[in-house]
């Protein structure tokens, strides 16, 4: 342990094996009520379809399960423990009231097929959230069905495609800036579009001249992220929109960075035709170690006929219903209605904030990013000097001269008690350090972060090898990812005796 900041200290932590290693025949954590109907002869009922053995499934007791997962949990970092500045991920506070209301019995136990008469509560939640999100984005209509951002992209591009098809030509390509997230091109491919790369200019923004040159009637849409993945607002966004529209193309916005805009700027006002939101980013639903998310897609009027089915509608008697009768719909993108549990949480977040809170949230997010930028300017290389919104992207240019790369710095940052920033994205910045603090960080935590980042930079000068060997303070040292990929071990198997 070389430098040590005021942020963290080492402490004793429990080891824990795999659950299978704790299993022993006869232990059990379950108990069923007595059967109140006649027992059945499973062999007779199922014949050769009867399963005889469940293999290596574990047999453990309840206390062991509590300990197993409690111990495991202590090996994780989390927002609840401190700043989690993963760029593009918007790791903001996940309010506990969201968790609480999502577990209210009639909502948690609602069956997706229960009669409309006893589904009014759920539909009202969906409708209210839809209305709020439409207002926030400045769009005209929305679907809540997609399960995550990438799924939203898929849904959005399906609507783009359906729109063009309705005009007689599906078109061939999607334009995607080189700074875009990997899901953008991957999604375009899934919808059967070819991807055409759009180079960023030296300010890290869409090169409008290049766009004008590239745009033609083969191009179905441009997928732009705004603010883009550098945290930079596309100042010529309306020009971009106009260029697209002139040639009959549509403007898709990846809304991953809406946390920079809510209550301050509305994509619908600056020319966007279709966009997705990430409720698990901007609207505070928890990331849960990788999901679930929710990726509603908001659209302009022209795309409304193509919304996935069903759509929640208010009937003339004021009750709500699902409308399945939408002949131009792109179809379903998943079973049922989407990640409903996330709708509850996002709506609770909006209620807790109100218009004033939402605006203040955005302001604080931008304030925090700029404070970090100011604090680290000069210490780390800033590849684009364009003003930052809610995140700032540095590079490891200075440190890599000593052989220390962004990933090495990230590992060392763990020793300081911080989750690292996003590494190796956006691709236009070699060795990127993509830092998004969100509004949830107090000044105190930001100061500790800046202190840690500076201290690390000094360490690189003094003893680069020490940084390369990081992390030093974790229960496990740096893991061999190459080994993992070369000889994949993707499940436990009992040792041969």
């Amino acid at each position: 342990m070389k430098h040590m900041t005021r942020k963290a200290t080492r402490h004793i932590n429990q080891n824990e094996g795999l659950i299978f290693e704790k299993s022993s025949p006869g232990k059990a954590a379950w108990k069923l009520p007595p059967l109140d109907v006649p027992e059945v002869d499973t062999a007779k009922l199922l014949g050769k379809s009867e399963r005889k053995d469940l293999g290596h499934m574990p047999e453990v007791s309840e206390i062991e399960i509590i300990r197993h997962f409690t111990r495991l949990s202590t090996w994780n970092y989390a927002i609840d423990l401190g700043m989690y500045p993963l760029g593009s991920c918007t790791m903001k506070y996940n309010p506990r009231v969201n968790e609480s209301v999502s577990r209210i019995e009639g909502l948690a136990n609602g069956h997706p097929y229960q009669p409309a008469k006893i589904s009014q509560g759920a539909m009202r939640i969906m409708k209210t959230l839809s209305d709020c999100l439409i207002e926030i984005t400045g769009m005209d209509a929305i679907t809540l069905q997609p399960a995550a951002g990438a799924h939203g992209e898929l849904t959005g591009l399906l609507m783009v495609r359906a729109f063009h098809e309705s005009k007689g030509n599906a078109r061939k390509k999607i334009l995607i800036p080189d700074s875009a997230h990997g899901t953008n091109p991957a999604t375009a491919a899934t919808v059967g579009y070819a991807v055409e790369n759009l180079k960023s200019n030296d300010r890290g923004m869409v090169d409008v001249a290049a766009l004008a040159a590239q745009m033609n009637e083969d191009i179905a849409a441009l997928m732009v992220t705004n603010p883009n993945t550098l945290g930079v607002f596309e100042q010529e966004i309306h020009k971009i929109a106009d260029l697209m529209h002139e040639k009959g193309g549509l403007l898709y916005m990846d809304g991953a960075n809406m946390n920079a805009l809510v209550g301050k700027v509305r994509p619908g006002d600056f020319g966007v035709d279709v966009m997705h939101l990430n409720l698990h980013k901007t609207f505070s639903t928890p990331h849960g170690g990788g999901g679930p998310g929710s990726g509603p897609v908001a659209i302009k009027k022209i795309l409304e006929p193509f919304l996935p089915t069903p759509v929640v509608v208010t009937k003339s008697d004021g009750t709500m219903a699902f409308d399945y009768n939408r002949p131009q719909s792109v179809g379903r993108v998943r079973a049922f209605y989407g990640n409903f549990g996330m709708f509850i949480r996002a709506l609770a977040y909006i209620f807790a904030n109100g218009p004033d809170g939402l605006r203040q949230t955005t302001e604080d997010a931008v304030l925090n990013a700029n404070y970090i930028r100011k604090g680290l300017e000069g210490v780390y290389d800033l590849p684009y000097e364009t003003p930052s919104m809610h995140e700032v992207v540095f590079s490891d240019k200075i440190q890599s001269k000593k052989g220390v790369k962004t990933m090495d710095l990230a590992k060392r940052l763990i020793d300081y008690g911080f989750h690292p920033y996003t590494t190796a994205f956006p691709l236009i910045v070699p060795g990127a350090l993509m830092i998004e603090p969100t509004e949830s960080e107090p000044k105190e935590e930001l100061d500790l972060f800046i202190e840690a980042m500076k201290s690390m930079a000094e360490e690189v000068e003094e003893d680069p090898q020490f940084v390369l060997d990081a992390p030093h303070n974790t229960r496990i040292s740096r893991l061999d990812e190459t080994l993992a990929a070369r000889k994949p071990v993707l499940r436990w198997t009992p040792e041969k005796v």
């Binding site: 795999l18 609480s100 609602g110 509560g121 690292p420 993992a484």
Partner: protein, 457 residues
């Protein structure tokens, strides 16, 4: 705003440090004409107590005191309380995808255990960390089969969940994957004859569900044999995970696309649920979604990392196996804990109770209505045909705070007045008897009406 950790003094100090005069200066990159000069028209800031009240109100409007016979891809099983006690720990709840393995070993080891148990239960070699849900998982499996086989069309069973079929349709259209649907036989199982005839040289896979949408358990081996003979892969969708406790897993399948909601995930009006794909070792590089793998640290200690990322969008972009990024991790953790609680013996006993309750209910219904598809084994669902429209019967059941089986007219008009009933370990005999009683009454009154009509003639 109570979530924001800043005082006015903090904000001033920070603006000063940055060297700007006001927060508006930081928004100067946004052209003035797009800056919103008014409040958003969303509800005013609410107190926490108001938020809780609002949602409690919605819960009351949502049938919070009904007992239900609905299944059809979303099942009401008991959720051991340890699940929520554990997944609500901030360390799980508020962490991101475990990209920094050394700071996320908890999530990673849990995923590794999840993958192991899913493999074990499905009879496959390996499983991924999760997909959005059963429907998108099934669609991704078909796309995976297309990549593996280099063929481009797919055959699907009509007894696959109708909404899964719709989703697949949506995905397949733009992938240029023609779909053919194979009917079910009188047994409720896929029509093997028709199936055989459906294959072409270009058939990449056949996708079935077992237990299928009617609750009927398919003869997976026979179907696999047919598919494999034709050089196609067999994909088995499993929507009722609890069946795996007592129903032989589809070991002959090449890909299993599962919806694990039954394993400890709240019904939650349809989501979030937990899709997951399992397959054979040899197909791993065409598998979409995240995978956790075992490795060693610098000191030779066992640890876990996300691996084989070259399949994924953040590395491969438009050439990735899928565009999926965020998955259903926390829901997979619920599933994981559920599987751990019941384990090797409990899952079997749980499945047996489901079987017994459903057998009893089907028996009782059979005395009054026509229970279809008796020719093949079923798990915890059955189709009952009544003389009266099931929607009408259901509205009477609602009066008893009971939600009856799902009327099938919308999905299978050919089945007439049929409904899909589901019983789980939570369905009591007395509620079954009540429902049966009301169905019996309906039959009697239709009969007497008919008699009256006949007499009148």
């Amino acid at each position: 705003m109570r979530y924001l950790p800043k005082s006015p003094a903090d904000r001033d100090a920070m603006l000063k440090a940055i060297g700007v005069r006001s927060i508006d200066d930081l928004f100067s990159p946004v052209p003035a004409e797009y800056r919103l000069a008014r409040d958003l028209k969303v509800p005013r800031q609410m107190a926490e107590s108001e938020i809780v009240d609002w949602f409690k109100q919605r819960s009351k409007e949502n049938g919070d005191d009904y007992t239900s016979f609905l299944g059809a891809g979303a099942y009401f099983h008991y959720r051991p309380v340890v699940i929520d006690a554990l997944v609500q720990r901030g360390e799980f709840l508020t962490s991101y995808t475990p990209y920094q393995a050394e700071f996320a070993q908890g999530t990673l080891q849990a995923i590794f255990e999840f993958q192991t148990m899913i493999s074990e239960l499905t009879g496959m070699d390996l499983a991924n960390a999760s997909m959005y849900d059963g429907s998108t998982g099934a669609a991704e499996a078909v796309m995976m089969a297309v990549r593996i086989t280099g063929k481009s069309s797919a055959v699907i069973a009509r007894s696959l969940h109708p909404e899964y079929r719709e989703v697949l349709q949506t995905y397949a259209t733009h992938q240029g994957i023609p779909l053919k649907t194979v009917a079910y036989a009188d047994s409720g199982r896929i029509d093997l004859k028709e199936l055989e005839g459906t294959f072409t040289d270009d058939t990449a896979c056949v996708l079935i569900q077992s237990p299928n949408f009617f609750g009927t358990i398919e003869d997976v081996e026979a179907i696999a044999e047919i598919a494999h003979k034709k050089g196609a892969l067999l994909i088995v969708s499993i929507a009722e995970a609890v069946s795996l406790g007592i129903v032989e897993p589809p070991r002959a399948a090449d890909i299993v696309a599962m919806e694990a909601q039954s394993f400890g995930v709240p019904l939650g009006f349809g989501g979030p649920y937990c899709g997951v794909l399992a397959t054979k070792d040899k197909f791993v590089r065409q598998m979409p979604g995240r995978l956790a793998g075992q490795t060693l640290d610098k000191n030779g200690k066992r640890g876990f990392v996300l691996t084989l990322a070259t399949r994924e969008q953040h590395i491969r972009r438009e050439k990735a196996t899928s565009n999926i990024c965020t998955n259903q991790a926390l829901v997979a953790l619920m599933v994981n804990i559920f599987m751990t609680v019941y384990g090797k013996v409990g899952l079997r006993e749980l499945a047996k109770q489901n079987l017994a309750k459903t057998a009893y209910a089907a028996d009782q219904f059979g005395k009054n209505a026509k229970v279809l598809f008796g020719g093949a084994p079923r798990f915890n669902e059955f189709v009952a045909q009544t003389s009266e429209d099931p929607a009408a019967i259901n509205s009477r059941l609602l009066g008893h705070k009971i939600v009856g089986g799902l009327p099938l007219k919308k999905f299978y008009p050919e089945l007439g007045n049929a409904a899909l009933w589901c019983c789980t370990e939570l369905t009591t005999r007395s509620i079954i008897d009540t429902a049966v009683g009301l169905v019996a009454e309906s039959e009697r009154s239709v009969r007497s009406m008919k008699e009256t009509e006949e007499v009148a003639l």
